[in-house]
């Protein structure tokens, strides 16, 4: 029962002598009421109403998805729900992630994961199958190719969702921001991360280096940037979850930056504007095409902290020491992996 064009509505309303803005359907019901008995009107009305209410919700593609979506904070039943179906029409959770959307993306991305990057994991069993954990990784590629690979790998291998925490910037771009959110992206706010890790005991993925890592040129490849202000350590301490570092090799070569255009970035209001090897070879197409570098991911041992969770503040020196220690161990692992690597393309 979709409404007719505005003009039709207007004329129908006028012809029935009522100035209200009403639908054609209402006008017809109105007309029926004036010509026939009242009972017929009531029956028309109630069946119409019942049909609209009992209209089954659109299929949410449950057959496609096989991951559990984040449970709502408290199961809750409306007082008047008896006999009514769930009003929800989609499976978008409170973070904007949709398992249905994720399953479609996984299906599309799987060939890229398997045949383009040929992703290989080492120590995947160190990531817990239940309970919260903060995954951290080194970040690379002008338009980072590591986040989708990590999220895809864990979701398919472990069967549990990963929330990717990233800069607010994504949120401001039309379409991209919505797609990012539906596929598990969450604005990196400490409060958001705490809820995901502590309240919901889910996996969150963060890149402590931030855009400093993705904007670095090829000359600086595999040199870890500053790990922010150690916020991720404090977060894990507060949430009482382990930190699991992941070292990624391959992302640097998938979209290497030759130089950056600062003025263009400023004019376009972007964090940085990279000129990549891909874009020099392929033009604008280069911004959506990665080189088929071989991806190798190594999961390091989980790090737990013997501090009381839930505190407002933690010792700054302890936080900075831990952050630096984690950074150093990741840097060592990266060097290790690079020593063993014989080819960028074949690993």
């Amino acid at each position: 029962m979709r409404g007719p064009a505005p003009s039709a509505v207007g004329s129908a309303a006028r012809s029935s002598g009522r100035p209200d803005d009403r639908d054609l359907i209402d006008a017809i019901v109105e007309h029926a009421a004036s010509t026939s008995s009242t009972t017929s009107t009531t029956s028309t009305g109630s069946t119409d109403w019942a049909a609209a209410v009992e209209d089954p919700p659109e299929a949410t593609g449950a057959s496609l998805s096989y991951l559990p979506v984040a449970a709502p904070r408290r199961p809750m039943v409306d007082e008047d729900t008896e006999g009514f179906e769930d009003p929800r029409r989609s499976d978008v959770d409170e973070w904007g992630r949709s398992e249905h959307m994720r399953s479609i993306i996984r299906r599309l991305y799987d060939p890229v994961y398997r045949h383009w990057f040929r992703v290989e994991w080492e120590g995947l069993e160190k990531i817990p199958t239940e309970g919260g954990a903060l995954l951290i990784a080194n970040h690379a590629g002008a338009i980072p190719s590591d986040a989708p690979a990590i999220m895809h790998g864990i979701e398919t291998e472990l069967g549990r969702p990963v929330y990717g925490l990233a800069d607010y910037f994504f949120r401001t771009i039309p379409v991209v921001g919505t797609m990012w959110s539906r596929s598990g992206g969450v604005p990196a706010h400490p409060d958001n991360a705490y809820r995901i890790l502590h309240d919901q005991q889910q996996l969150a993925l963060v890149f402590p280096e931030g855009t400093k890592a993705t904007s670095k040129t090829y000359a600086d490849r595999y040199r870890l940037r500053r790990f922010g202000r150690g916020g991720f350590v404090e977060l894990a301490m507060r949430a009482g979850v382990p930190i699991i570092p992941i070292a990624v090799v391959g992302a640097e070569e998938s979209m290497p930056i030759v130089f950056r255009l600062t003025k263009v970035a400023k004019a376009l209001n972007l964090p940085y504007f990279p000129v990549t090897v891909n874009s020099l070879l392929l033009g604008p197409l280069g911004y959506v095409t990665y080189f088929p570098a071989k991806f190798k991911l190594r999961v390091l041992d989980p790090i737990t902290f013997d501090v009381e969770p839930g505190l407002e503040r933690y010792s700054r020196s302890r936080v900075m020491d831990e952050a630096e220690r984690i950074r150093a161990s990741m840097q060592d692992t990266l060097h290790d992996m690079l020593r063993e690597r014989r080819s960028i393309w074949f690993g």
Partner: protein, 348 residues
């Protein structure tokens, strides 16, 4: 002695609903309603006093009636219905006078309840997914409505500091949907055209109108000073609000959406006030655990509130507009309340 309650904005939706709810409570001895116009709902025993929107006579009324509870529902949270200047007069100056009356020396007032809105948090890209009561907004204040509500809350904060013996409760309500209330969003949904911004589908939160009245009642009955968020469980995408309600989305360009909505607003096809722009771009969510822990039980979730609206709307579409509204007759109401000829306590 029973409680003596003063309600502001008796002629508005919330004032009327609140008075009706309190009339059902035997321990509420006296209900006094202030309004600029006559009440629009039938009331049994509520006394109506006409006043201007600034409440300049309020301190006299409070002294004369010895009220112990003030329920301040007359805060305008919809910038479509009133001009900008009136908005300021109602919200800021009205609250100023109300607090002055409540805090006068030797006051009988023990409890002040303010019906604020989650508009004070705004909507910006750096917002947390769930605002808690202590969080401050991350974006700049862009609209008059938000500015006036923030000013009101700062007045209330000062008042709370100055009067520690009073229980001051501020309830910040999320956008309301329900069977009867008309807000810009329900206006749009009723006309089946919901403005959105192309490429954005934010998560939003609603509270059902019955839960609004119930929460105000709850605070009237219990002493819980402080600021509380009131909103339904969960968040749903903006597009889903439209699909549950059987409306179409009207995608506006991301740059200057209000400019493009203006012609449709002139034709009364949609309402798209400035405070809605941020909401449909970045959404908003508030943490309601504090109010829950204070003991309040919600009847509706966010999706439930939208469904409640959709069901009422389906009925409206099927059977036409509501029956003619109630009309307040001063003499008749006065007669029933005060004439010795009326035998009280008998159900008429």
């Amino acid at each position: 002695m029973g409680r003596r309650v003063l309600i502001t904005g008796l002629d508005t939706f919330w004032g009327g609903r609140m008075a009706q709810a309190l009339e059902a409570k035997p321990d509420v001895e006296m209900i006094l309603g202030l309004g600029t116009k006559e009440p629009r709902v039938p009331l049994d025993r509520t006394e109506f006093v006409r006043s201007d929107q600034k409440y300049s006579i309020l301190s006299r009324i409070v002294r004369a009636t010895q009220v112990d509870t003030i329920v301040h529902t007359f805060l305008e949270t919809n910038s479509v219905t009133v001009p900008a200047r009136t908005l300021h007069e109602i919200n800021v100056i009205g609250t100023l006078n109300l607090l002055a009356a409540a805090g006068a020396s030797g006051t009988s007032v023990r409890k002040v309840i303010i019906k604020s809105s989650t508009h004070v948090y705004g909507s910006a890209e750096q917002d947390p997914a769930w605002f808690s009561e202590e969080d401050t907004r991350t974006g700049p204040v862009r609209t008059r409505l938000e500015r006036s509500l923030i000013e009101v809350e700062s007045l209330v904060r000062d008042f709370t500091d100055d009067n520690p013996h009073l229980a001051v409760t501020v309830l910040r309500f999320a956008n309301v949907l329900g069977t009867d209330i008309i807000t810009p969003i329900s206006y749009d949904l009723r006309r089946r055209l919901l403005p959105s911004i192309a490429g954005f589908d934010p998560l939003v939160q609603f509270v059902e109108e019955d839960d609004v009245v119930r929460s105000l009642e709850f605070v009237t009955e219990n002493r819980i000073p402080g600021v509380f968020n009131v909103a339904g469980e969960g968040k749903i995408p903006w597009s889903e609000v439209a699909s549950i309600s059987g409306a179409h989305l009207l995608p506006l360009p991301p740059f200057g959406p209000r400019l493009f909505a203006a012609p449709l607003e002139r034709l009364s096809r949609v309402q798209f006030p400035p405070e809605m722009e941020g909401l449909v771009r970045y959404g908003r969510g508030v943490d309601t655990s504090k109010f829950r822990e204070a003991g309040f039980d919600y009847r509706y979730s966010t999706a439930g509130a939208v469904r409640s609206f959709a069901r009422a709307n389906n009925l409206r579409r099927a059977t036409g507009s509501a029956p003619p509204g109630y009309r307040y007759e001063q003499d008749v109401e006065q007669f029933f309340r005060h004439s010795p000829a009326v035998v009280r306590g008998v159900d008429a």
